[in-house]
């Protein structure tokens, strides 16, 4: 790790990349291979509009993967991210559409709801010593049900809050550089990833993330209040999930209360493809981002190639195994 103190944007970027290479994010090579392969296979793949579609498709899963990375590094797992995202979206819908509050309050509500739910999971895990798998499985079901209850099993539309759909669909970058109409959702993904990577590598919270995943008992014996930190980490992850809730709601211009199941597996898969170990102690945000991109490129590419849907699944499964295998080989070669 580097020891610079000034924080110019460049050094920040280089730091994140350095932190990434430090964790040997070799999954990157698989991503490049996939991109090249699909470009050769279909002339339609490498269009700007399709690249943006891929990034857009990554945004929600990417943010969820970032959140779940934190929890996985502590040695835990979070199965509730999918339905928690939905729950946050529904709460935002209640605040904005049912209560007619201003946009900013809706944004705040989503993040606060996520943080609250996260801290509940964290409390179950830290204080009640419930295995993370069960604690977050329980939360997953509870939040799934509550989303339906609160929304009355109907989608909540944001038609009365015109600015809302811009959160994900607008393009600040596109306004400045019309040639690069990158949607805000993608920008938000990168900002979230950057900030989280910074927290993970440069702050006490991040340090305890790794420490807890490495040897929780030893951290506790060193007099650290591990319970409190664990709750904080789950809460942070929850807040990030809240952002994912905003992104998906904004993209669909509605809070879809039934959505969410299955997203947790995809997010965890992205994290693991990115080289983070499920046994904790090791991992990187950059890796998870690349993992999420690999999955999005794979799905999009196979669709653009018009591969029959049943074969898409087969090929996706095989390529995921191969990508991780290639990654293991490169890692072995590097060490």
């Amino acid at each position: 790790m580097t020891t610079t103190t000034a924080n110019t944007p460049q050094t920040m970027l280089s730091r994140i990349i350095a932190a990434g290479t430090h964790q040997r994010v070799l999954a990157f090579a698989s991503l490049v291979v996939l991109l090249i392969g699909f470009s050769i296979a279909s002339p339609n793949f490498m269009q700007t509009s399709n690249m943006i579609a891929i990034l857009q498709a990554t945004s929600v899963n990417g943010v969820l993967a970032v959140a779940v990375t934190l929890v996985i590094i502590t040695g835990g797992i979070d199965l509730s991210v999918g339905t928690m995202m939905t729950f946050c979206a529904v709460i935002t819908g209640v605040v904005l559409t049912y209560a007619g509050m201003p946009l900013l309050l809706g944004v705040f509500a989503a993040i606060a709801t996520g943080a609250l739910c996260g801290s509940m999971s964290g409390t179950f895990v830290a204080k009640m010593k419930i295995p993370p798998f069960i604690a977050t499985l329980g939360m997953m079901l509870i939040l799934k049900g509550l989303s339906l209850v609160i929304s009355g099993t109907r989608p909540i539309y944001f038609n009365d809050t015109p600015g809302f759909s811009l959160i994900s669909r607008g393009s600040i970058i596109g306004d400045i550089f019309p040639a690069m109409p990158i949607p805000n959702g993608v920008l938000i993904l990168f900002i979230v990833a950057g900030v989280t990577a910074y927290i993970l590598n440069r702050t006490v919270l991040g340090r305890y993330c790794f420490a807890l995943g490495s040897n929780e008992e030893s951290v506790r014996l060193s007099g650290v209040n591990t319970d409190r930190w664990k709750i904080a980490i789950y809460a942070l992850a929850g807040g990030i999930v809240g952002i994912a809730g905003l992104l998906i709601a904004s993209r669909l211009n509605s809070a879809q209360p039934a959505l969410g199941l299955g997203y947790e597996l995809e997010a965890i898969a992205a994290v693991v493809i990115g080289g983070t170990s499920l046994s904790g102690g090791r991992g990187s945000i950059l890796g998870s981002l690349i993992g999420a991109l690999i999955m999005a490129v794979l799905t999009n590419g196979l669709r653009v190639l018009s591969v029959a849907q049943e074969w898409q699944t087969v090929v996706t499964g095989a390529i995921i195994i191969l990508a991780v295998y290639a990654d293991m080989m490169r890692r072995k070669g590097a060490s």
């Binding site: 993209r251 669909l252 039934a258 959505l259 799905t299 999009n300 669709r303 018009s306």
Partner: protein, 290 residues
């Protein structure tokens, strides 16, 4: 010359119903000499996955698009993009609340479920307790069929009480367990309505495993297990849509729209009630799949 490419983005893929739609679309594709692809998400909650599919379809510069919206609002920006590019959009199965689609090939699910309610009332003598095993709590088809049935009962059959509505995700096994629990809780049940193939077969399985008698079952859609149950007399009858017709009409309308032809706002592909008496009629056989 570039070939004519029409991607169909549906609400599902593996389910028999959607496969029947696909076969209709394939039929039309062969007939009109166009190339189609058919894709749909794993289940009807995955609204954003469907949007991603639509985005990937647009990347291939299609000649026209068929789209069965899970949530019509969510897709509007992409549909607008298609409209701007001069790509005609044909809605199928359920409508898109927008004037972008050139036409909509669909079944009136509310009316179809109301017909199921009428048949149920007729068979149970207009009185007694009935229950519904639905396939989904939030999807358009799930809501329309459930409410179509419930509202018809409420409006016209005061002596029929709907004691339970539960959901089995269209999964046959889960629907079986749901139906068994309903039967356990309501030993005096006289009728059950299943809102799609999986739900209906779940009810049949439950009745079979519990050896319950005196419960009138009305199903929805077709499939071999369901048609067999009707032939055996275990199931009284079922509503069927015309999925093959939906697929066929969608592609046909897409070709027409490309050629600038006028299209009606709605292409109603119709629905039918079938039971032991008419299951082998040619008209019914044409819309059943197994």
């Amino acid at each position: 010359a570039q070939d004519i490419y029409i991607p169909l983005i549906s609400k599902g893929f593996q389910h028999q119903f959607w496969q029947a739609v696909k076969s209709g679309a394939d039929q039309a594709a062969a007939e009109f000499g166009v190339r189609i692809t058919f894709e749909g998400p794993d289940n009807e909650t995955m609204v954003d996955r469907q949007i991603d599919m639509l985005a990937a379809a647009l990347a291939n510069n299609p000649s026209a698009i068929g789209f069965a919206a899970l949530d019509s609002q969510a897709a509007i920006p992409l549909l607008q993009q298609a409209a701007d590019a001069g790509i005609p959009v044909i809605a199928f199965d359920s409508g898109v609340e927008s004037d972008i689609p050139a036409t909509t090939a669909t079944t009136d699910n509310v009316a179809a479920a109301a017909l199921a309610a009428d048949k149920m009332a007729e068979l149970i003598g207009g009185a007694g307790k009935v229950a519904v095993v639905a396939h989904d709590q939030t999807s358009r088809t799930g809501i329309d069929r459930r409410d179509g049935f419930l509202n018809q009962i409420e409006a016209n059959y005061p002596d029929i009480e709907v004691v339970s509505v539960q959901y089995g995700a269209g999964d046959q096994l889960q629907s079986t367990e749901v139906a068994k629990a309903i039967l356990t809780a309501n030993p005096d049940l006289v009728g059950m309505f299943g809102t799609n193939e999986g739900s209906a077969i779940g009810i049949v399985n439950a009745i079979r495993e519990m050896a319950t008698e005196g419960v009138t079952i009305i199903g929805y859609d077709s499939g071999k297990a369901q048609t067999d149950a009707i032939r055996e007399g275990l199931m009284a009858g079922a509503i069927t849509q015309n999925p093959v017709g939906i697929g066929y009409e969608t592609v046909k309308a897409a070709v027409a729209a490309m050629n600038g032809e006028e299209l009606p706002a709605i292409i109603d592909t119709g629905f039918y009630y079938y039971d032991q008496s008419n299951i082998d009629d040619a008209e019914i056989q044409a819309v059943l799949y197994d």
